[in-house]
Structures are given as C-alpha cells and as structure tokens.
Symmetry: C2
Subunit: 490 residues, 2 copies
C-alpha cells in the first residue's frame, strides 16, 4: 500500500513538476521577448550613448520627469525628415529580417497560430508545428515584427510560442511523449500561460483555454491551466522586465460610476463590435484568398511593403504614430488627473479629435485586414482592441458633446450638474472589449481580461452588456470567429 501511495504521489508530482517547468520557461521567454521588443522599438528613434544595449527608458533612468531633457539619449538625426526616413527604413529592415527568417527556417512560425493549435487540440497531427525550431524562430521574429510597427499584435504568437515550449518540455518526459491525450492537456495549459503572460492576466488565460481552445472541458484540465498560468505570470513578475513592478498593462481608476441611460450608447458599441468582427473576418478571408493566388512566393516583399506603408501613413495621425498599448492606455484614462494627452480632453478641439480617432479607426482596420495573415508572426488581439478603443473614445467624445449642449434634456436628468457626467475613457474601454469579442467570438474571457487589464471593477456589468449585444449581432450575421474561419479556409 505504501508503495502504491508513493507511486501515486510520484506520478502527481511529475505532472506538477512538468507544469511548473513549462510555466517558468514561458515566463522567462515572455520577459526576454518584452525586453527585446522595447529595445528594438526605441532603436528606430535613436540610441543611448551610455551603452547601445539600453533602451530609452533605462538610458534615461535617472532623469525624473518626462519634461526634462535626457542627455544620454541621442536621436539619429536632428532633421525631422531624416528622422522620419530612418524610422521608415528601420521598419522595412525589421520586417525583411523577420519575413526572411520565417521563410527560410521555420514556415510554421508565420501567422498567429491559434487556429492551428485548435486543430491540434481537436486531434489533428501537424508535424513540426510545435517544434523547437518554430519556437526559436518565432521568439526571435516576434519582437522584430512588433517593432516594425505592422498593425499586428503579439498575443496570438505568444500563445503559439507557449504551446511550443509546452510540447518541447513535455517530450522530455516519457509519460507525456507517449500519450496524445496528456500532450493535449499540456498544450491547453501552455495556451493559458501564453495568454496570461501576454496580457498579465492569469485568470483570463485560464478562461481563454476553456472558452476558445476546447469545446468540452474537464475540471482537471482547468486546474492544470491554473497552475501553469500562475507559475508563468509569477515568473514574469519576478523577472520584472520593465522595472515598474506592475503586470497590469493599463491600470485605470474611474472616480465616477455609470448611469442607466448610457445603456443606449453601450448598445451602439456592442453593435459596432459585432459588425467589426464580421467585417474584418470577411475581408481578411478575401485578402487571404488574394494572397494565396497572387503573392504565394512574395511573402518577404509583401511584409516589407506593408511595414513601410504602415510606417509612412501612420506617422501623420497622432494616434497611429504611437505604440498600440500606449495609445490604449491614453484612451482609457479619465480626463481628470493627467489624462490629457495631446489636448484629447479639450472641448475646443473635440471635433478635430473625433476626426483623428475616426481616421485612426478606419486606417488601422484597413492595415489589419491586409496585414493579418502575412508571412510573419502576427496576432489580432491587440490591434482589435486598439481599433475598438479609438472608436469607443470617439463615441464617448460625441456623447459628451451632446450632453454638454443638452444638459436640461430628459435623458440626462440623472446626471449631477456639478460633476462631469460622461467619461469618454469608459467608452474606449467598452469599445475595446466589443471589438475583441467580435473578432474572436469569446465572451467571458474578454470580460475577465479587460477587468484584469484595467481593474475597472464598476464596469463589469456594462462590459457584459456590450458583449451580450456583440454576440447577438455576430450570431445574427452568422460569421464564426476568425480562428475558425481560418481553419475552414485552410
């Protein structure tokens, strides 16, 4: 009896050990990818005199405020036009290197990888898709692609990389390498950890592995995902790649709660999310068909052209110029207390702001449709959220303008006249949730991720309402999520 107990413990211990090991490696890998991405993004603008390996943040570590001049950081040139040219050239070079590496060394590293992983979990066998070479190449090319400024995100590829790590590590252990079922469990857990480290959202990762990855789910698998996501997030937090001690990407605190009449505008955002999802999925499939027909052998050139175009056009819009996550953290903020980037909150320029945001929404959508699916690692999570956020903020500013001109009107009667009634930042948050839910067709996961990303506790109910509408619109139109559509296309 003692022996059988010991064996049982050993077997349980082995599983726990493998999950922990996978989690630790995923965490370390994610931290390294973050550091390299930041450095590559900054090198487009200039270099650090104290050491070429420092990014702008670390180079200027001792300079306190953003206002002060940082003497160690040198822009490449003092002429604006030259700076812009170098920016575009760097974008092209990064895209070229990434596409070339993918083309020559690991074809499977292209795209987001989530649809293929869904196939593998459903029982298909794809030799080499979760191999060590895919892992290495995708980890190297992902920072290059993000830094090149292409309208793609790092979350999908991050899940793929995590699943590669899971497979590679589990293959070292006989218990896992012999059993397809156990291997699938490891892959599911690793996908949870991948989302967890990409968003800093461990519970969101667990739910993602439930909602998106499997159609039928066992409680035991959930527990494995929990452990793996926890370990990976904790490792990332110990590594602390940004030295801020924070995992939360864009923490916001809303000092005011919502009003019931705002439900009308949430419905609008929800409808936008549903339409956005259907539209992007449809156009992206057409782009994929076009790509297969005409660009099959020009993957590298395609990526370079896209990167150069994105860099050239994006430079002229104040919201496309900056990084997507940075843009979102600006758009989510309340106006009070330092949220006034580039006069975003000034009433005098509200219509020009609406204009900028609408342009940003449309242009980014266009680039996303043609970029997602090109032959480089490319995710669709963050770009979708960015598009939703710019649209939502636009709606928020319009609603605020309507309120300010009709303060006495009936529907605004629940507003306290002494306080700001409408918070445009919350509309950006809800818009981001709607777009993400619309394109991936996931629901509970989106609520948890948005909530872990921002900590906006009072906005859980509004987020759920928006996602309810998005899901209803999506079901009515009848499109599937982009991952499923990609599976059917292939």
């Amino acid at each position: 009896w003692v022996w059988s107990q010991f064996q049982r413990l050993l077997s349980a211990g082995e599983s726990a050990f493998v999950m922990t090991l996978v989690g630790v490696i995923i965490g370390i890998n994610a931290a390294l990818i973050s550091i390299v991405t930041k450095w590559l993004s900054d090198i487009k603008m200039g270099y650090c005199a104290d050491g070429w390996w420092l990014n702008q943040q670390f180079c200027c570590w001792e300079v306190d405020s953003d206002e002060e001049f940082c003497s160690s950081w040198h822009p490449w040139s003092t002429v604006t036009a030259a700076r812009w040219l170098l920016y575009v050239i760097f974008a092209g070079v990064f895209a070229f290197v990434a596409a070339h590496l993918v083309r020559t060394m690991a074809k499977y590293a292209a795209g987001s990888g989530i649809s293929e992983i869904k196939c593998i979990l459903a029982g298909f066998v794809m030799q080499g898709f979760l191999s060590f070479s895919t892992l290495v190449i995708k980890s190297i090319t992902l920072p290059l692609v993000i830094a090149s400024g292409l309208s793609v995100g790092k979350e999908g590829p991050s899940v793929h990389v995590a699943c590669c790590i899971g497979t590679v590590v589990a293959n070292w252990f006989q218990k896992f390498s012999r059993s397809q079922g156990k291997m699938r469990e490891v892959i599911t857990a690793a996908s949870a950890a991948g989302v967890a480290v990409a968003f800093g959202s461990p519970i969101g990762g667990v739910l993602f592995s439930i909602e998106e990855m499997n159609h039928i789910f066992r409680i035991k698998t959930m527990w494995r995902s929990f452990v793996c996501a926890l370990v990976a997030t904790f490792t990332l937090s110990v590594m602390n790649p940004f030295r801020t001690g924070k995992l939360v990407l864009f923490q916001v605190t809303y000092s005011r709660s919502w009003h019931f009449f705002e439900i009308i505008f949430w419905v609008i955002l929800g409808i936008f999310g549903g339409l956005y999802g259907a539209f992007v999925v449809k156009l992206n499939m057409q782009a994929a068909a076009f790509r297969r027909k005409h660009l099959a052998n020009h993957g590298v050139a395609e990526a370079v052209v896209l990167a150069v175009l994105t860099a050239m056009v994006g430079y002229f819009n104040r919201f496309l110029r900056i990084d997507m996550t940075e843009m979102m953290s600006i758009l989510f903020r309340e106006c009070e207390g330092g949220g006034d980037y580039n006069n975003l909150c000034q009433q005098s320029v509200q219509w020009s702001m609406v204009n900028s945001l609408l342009l940003a929404t449309i242009i980014r959508m266009g680039f996303l449709v043609i970029s997602y699916g090109s032959k480089v690692p490319a995710g669709i999570f963050v770009p979708s959220m960015a598009i939703g956020a710019s649209f939502g903020r636009m709606v928020g500013i319009i609603v605020k303008a309507i309120y300010l001109t009709n303060q006495q009107s009936g529907i605004f009667s629940s507003c306290d006249p002494d306080l700001p009634c409408i918070t445009p930042g919350t509309y950006a948050l809800l818009g981001a949730a709607a777009a993400l839910s619309g394109v991936m067709r996931i629901t509970v996961t989106v609520v948890v991720i948005m909530f872990e990303l921002t900590g906006a506790l009072t906005y859980i109910l509004p987020t759920m309402i928006v996602i309810l509408v998005t899901k209803a619109v999506g079901d009515f139109i009848g499109t599937r999520g982009i991952a499923e559509e990609t599976i059917r296309f292939n």
Copy 2:
C-alpha cells in the same frame, strides 16, 4: 427557407426570453430577500419611530455622519442587560419560526441545497426539491435565519432559490418542461445567477456553474449562464436595495503592493485553508451523523437552541457581535483612511486583538460545524470566509509585530523604511480566499469572486498562490468538498 430561418430565430428567441425572465425574477427575489434581512436584523436592536417598516439605515437617512445621534431610531430599552436579553429572544423567535415553517411546509428548504442540485444535474430525479413551495418557504425563512445570527450564510440557499425559480419558470414552456437536458441547462444557468446576486459577482457566478456544478462543460451552457447572471445582477442593480448604488460588497483599495518575502506567510494561510476545509468537513459529517441518530425529530428545538447559544456567546466577542459581512469589510481594510474599527490598528493593543481574533476564529468554527446541516436554510460560503478573514487578520497582525521588532533583519530588507511594509488587511483577504477554497474545493471561482468582491487587482497572484497551496494540502489529506461529502453521506 425564410420559414426555417424564422423558426430558428423564434426558437433561439424563446431560450433567450426564458433565460432573461429567469434572471429578472432571480434579481427581484434577491433584492426583496436583502431588504427583509436588513430590516429583521435591525429590529432585534430597536425600531423606527417614523414607521415600523424602516430599517435603521433608512430611518436615519438624513443624519449624515455615524457620530451624530439619530433621534427617530429607538433602541428597545435603555438598560444594557435588557437589550441583550431582547436580542437573544428575538434570535430564538426567528429561528423557531424559520425551523417550524421548514418542518411543516417544505422539508426540502432545509440546508444549503447545493449538494442536491449537483445530484440533479448529474441526472438524479428528486421530486419536489425544486418546486414552487420550496421556493416560497426558502425565500421567507432565509432572512429569518440570517437575522437570527446563526453562524450560517445566505449564498448556498440563494443558489437553491435561484434554481427553484429557474425550474418553475421553465416549466411554463413546453420546450423546456419536455426535455430533461434543457431543464438541466436552465438549472445550471440559474445557479450561476444565484451566486451572482448573492455576491454581486456575475463572472464569479458563471465560473461557479462551470467549476462546481458540472464535471464536463459545454461552451453553449456557459453562454446561457452568462446571460442569466448578467440579467439577474443588472436587475438587482436597478432595484438597488441598499440605495448605495453599489453591488460590490466590500470594496477595498490597497495603496501598497506586496513583497516577495510575504510568500512564506501566504503559504501558511494556504495550509490553514486546506486544514480548515478538511477539519470542518470531517467534523460536520460527524455532527450530521449525530443529528440523524439523536435529533431527527427535534429539528425545531435544535435550531432555537443553536440560535440562542450563538447570540449569547457571540455578544462577548467584538468580532462575533457584528454581522459577518460587516466584520469582513472591517478586516479587509487598510489601516490608513478610516480602517481603525475598535482600535484594530493600534499597536498598543495588538496582542489583545490577536486574542480576540483567535477566539472569534475558533468559536465561529465550532458554531459553523454544528449549525451547518441543521433544519433551516444554511449556507457555508460566508461563514467560511469570515473565519478565514479573522484568522488571516490575526496572522497579519503577528507578521506586522514581527516586522516592527526586527526591521533590520534580512528578510525584511526589501521594505521601504518610510512606508508601512505589512498590510494586515491583505492577509484577511487571502485568509478568506483560502478558507472558502478549502471548504468548497473550488479554485478559479474563488479567485474571481474575491476579486469581484473587493477589486484588489494587484492581489490576484497572491490569491492564486494561496489557493494553490490550499488545493495541494486538501489533495494530500484527501478529503472532498463539503458538497460531495454531503452527497455521499445521504
């Protein structure tokens, strides 16, 4: 084709309509239960001269501060001893009425009901368990039991009531009343809504219905749970029973984050949670065996004796005297900014505070073991959390005392000497999570519920670590959750 589309839409519409209707009724019912509970709890202490139907809060609505004297609210007597006696008598009367109603009108209304619902979802048929009479009697007796001060919670019964509502409503529709499978889906969704309204935690409800209620789960059911929980929470929020506009039970904001060395103490809390769970489940099963043997026909007398005893003993501990949710919201708070209830934060009385908290932990545990399972509606969620919170706060105060006497020691080197390093409130939060997870053996749900209850975003990782340890300890000891043990016992 048009006709088949129309039929499809109608069928989808019918399901959505039923889910919405169930959600609305659950929300309304929960709001009514809350209002009655508050009124009954207050009537033990005194009455309102402006109208007997007002509770203390509404009676004193116009009095701003807690310090000011509220002239409309009259305590029953000016003599302390008489007040205490009336308090105990009221407790006894409430318990008697509740137990008598349950005994004569609906036997199934006793207990928490969660274990039976798990059986029903697994395919057993229990005639009358989810009937209209159970619904009515449980809704009436639940406020009485809570107001009587018994060491039991309203969350388990609230799930049972929600499932009754789901069954009763769904039986009006042929589509559901004919199909066992569809009925189970409605019950699952209703259980999600029950947790959602009890805690004000919609996503926690959805996860509860995944993790606790089913062993294998379909994504479509999750979506139904989502809708039902959303509608119920929204209805509750519109009803706004406490006129505070808040659903969050104990919102806390921690101004400081955690340190890595605190992981040692989290492990202690996790071990406590695991041991607590095993201990309570084991003793409660013994109490149930004793009850079945000796008290089978004395259910009413038993409940009255328990209520009177609880009221008599509880009066002499400063943490047992007040309401459980009130106690938790006090224990979770940071000391800075008004968290100093009854000198809780004063260093001079820290050891007497530790003493009080330890006593509160042990006494409440004793009462919980003998009260849970008596013949009145009784849940185990909130008492477990309260026990965990008092134990956690005790650990927190001890850790703080250790820190203050050994500030120079190695493990505290990461503390900033100018700031308070240890926040005892966070230990209370983690202790509550550990105890809840230990007794119910649920994991992800607990993280989400704690998080939706308090909004403590930075403490997700610590909560996950604590629950990991709790789960490991529980698995090592080998006990099941209390719901499963109750099933086996019956």
